[in-house]
């Protein structure tokens, strides 16, 4: 992210307000359109107002407010307003690499998903992950808190190695936060990724996984193309691997990569979690309005 450049353009923010995060808990809450007549005023408590967006139920529009202000607002009820969204972003040193840089892409994705949650008055928690879980931002709700979210994301620095098992386990185990929709943005280049995701599921969180990689990780070609003798130095640990980067090695890498990415996707499918593979060179608009919608993260 260039110094001073906004994570989200104003026009994109306006478009994002029409979206919402998909959650089974929210789907259950939204069904109170039918339940409301039967349980009038009992368990459905008014919580807040939100500006009307395309797709909202017209029955929820507050016409009194419209009469006074001329703007359409919908009423939010407690069970709908209190969806907790946990945005967990890998900020380890492996993420601060690649062209385009993965950490910059992760910040933009987190900003977009976080803004969608804020605009829908979800309770948003944002936490950076590396060897452990960093200081959590939130709860935030409402568009007024967007500046706080963007400022928090821009302030993150990649300093340490990844241990997703420990970091996600630490977040899941911390008390005081209700379970909700946990969105993990990471390259998942950590042997303990499965432990971490299982820890979130054990705490009855719904899960959405954004698997963020840079083009060179998907299709490596080496700095000068194939046929080179390379000493690959791990940015996180300093360990190195010596390899002759020829066609058989690239084929073997492609197979290993497919097995590893497939294992993460299968894990998500097995546990009813959304899985999105996103390349760091993908346009943010395309990711939000096509990939995330197609993969049932946003609607």
């Amino acid at each position: 992210v260039k110094e001073g450049a906004p994570l989200l353009a104003a026009e994109l923010m306006h478009r994002l307000e029409r979206l919402q995060l998909i959650s089974r808990a929210r789907a259950a809450g939204l069904s109170h359109g039918e339940r409301r007549s039967r349980q009038h005023g009992a368990s459905i408590q008014f919580a807040d107002y939100r500006e009307y967006a395309f797709g909202d139920d017209p029955r929820l529009v507050d016409w009194n407010v419209y009469g006074r202000s001329g703007h359409l607002f919908v009423k939010l009820f407690e069970d709908e307003a209190l969806l907790a969204v946990h945005l967990l972003v890998d900020v380890s040193r492996s993420m601060d690499w690649g062209e385009p840089n993965k950490l910059d892409a992760a910040r933009r994705l987190a900003a977009a998903l976080g803004y969608v949650a804020l605009a829908r008055f979800d309770r948003l928690y944002v936490a950076p992950l590396d060897e452990d879980v960093g200081p959590t931002l939130g709860p935030l709700w409402g568009r007024d808190q967007a500046a706080k979210l963007l400022e928090g994301l821009a302030g993150w620095r990649a300093r340490r190695a990844t241990d997703l098992g420990r970091a996600l386990g630490g977040y899941a185990g911390s008390t005081g936060r209700r379970p909700g929709l946990a969105i993990v943005i990471s390259d998942f280049l950590s042997p303990t990724w499965e432990d971490g995701l299982r820890a979130l599921l054990r705490r009855r969180n719904e899960l959405a996984v954004v698997h963020l990689l840079c083009p060179e990780e998907v299709r490596p070609g080496g700095p000068s193309g194939p046929g080179e003798e390379l000493r690959l130095i791990d940015r996180e640990t300093g360990r190195h691997v010596e390899i002759h980067l020829d066609a058989p090695a690239l084929d073997a890498y492609a197979r290993r990569f497919a097995e590893w990415a497939g294992a993460i996707e299968r894990f998500c499918a097995h546990h009813g979690a959304a899985y999105c593979r996103v390349d760091s060179d993908a346009a943010l608009e395309t990711t939000c309005f096509e990939t995330f919608r197609h993969r049932r993260v946003l609607a």
Partner: protein, 107 residues
């Protein structure tokens, strides 16, 4: 120093061979990557198919070698010939094939 001593001449030639090996050694170019997590798994797979490999120190292999040496010396002390056939190895499979009763009854 005289070149008429064969060992001295051999030692001199070995220096030339060492220099040649040094000149022909593989030169690796350093390249930083985000993580070697996948590459490290890959090199293990690729190394299995390489005809020449660097010797790796393995504790299990050392223990096996020591045990083998100990049992061999015992067997030799008793005047017996001793063969170790690892199951699944080419040699082990060959021994299995030799010892297995033939289906045609040895005709």
């Amino acid at each position: 120093v005289t070149f008429l001593v064969p060992l001295g001449l051999l030692a001199l030639l070995s220096i030339a061979v060492l220099v040649l090996f040094y000149l022909l050694r593989v030169r690796y170019r350093d390249h930083e990557v985000g993580s070697t997590y996948l590459w490290a798994q890959l090199t293990r797979d690729l190394a299995v198919h390489e005809p020449w490999q660097k010797p790796r120190i393995s504790v299990l292999m050392l223990i096996q070698a020591l045990l083998l040496a100990g049992r061999r010396s015992d067997a030799e002390a008793r005047g017996q010939r001793f063969h170790k056939a690892y199951p699944g190895s080419l040699y082990g499979n060959a021994v299995d094939a030799l010892l297995a009763p033939r289906e045609d009854g040895g005709r």
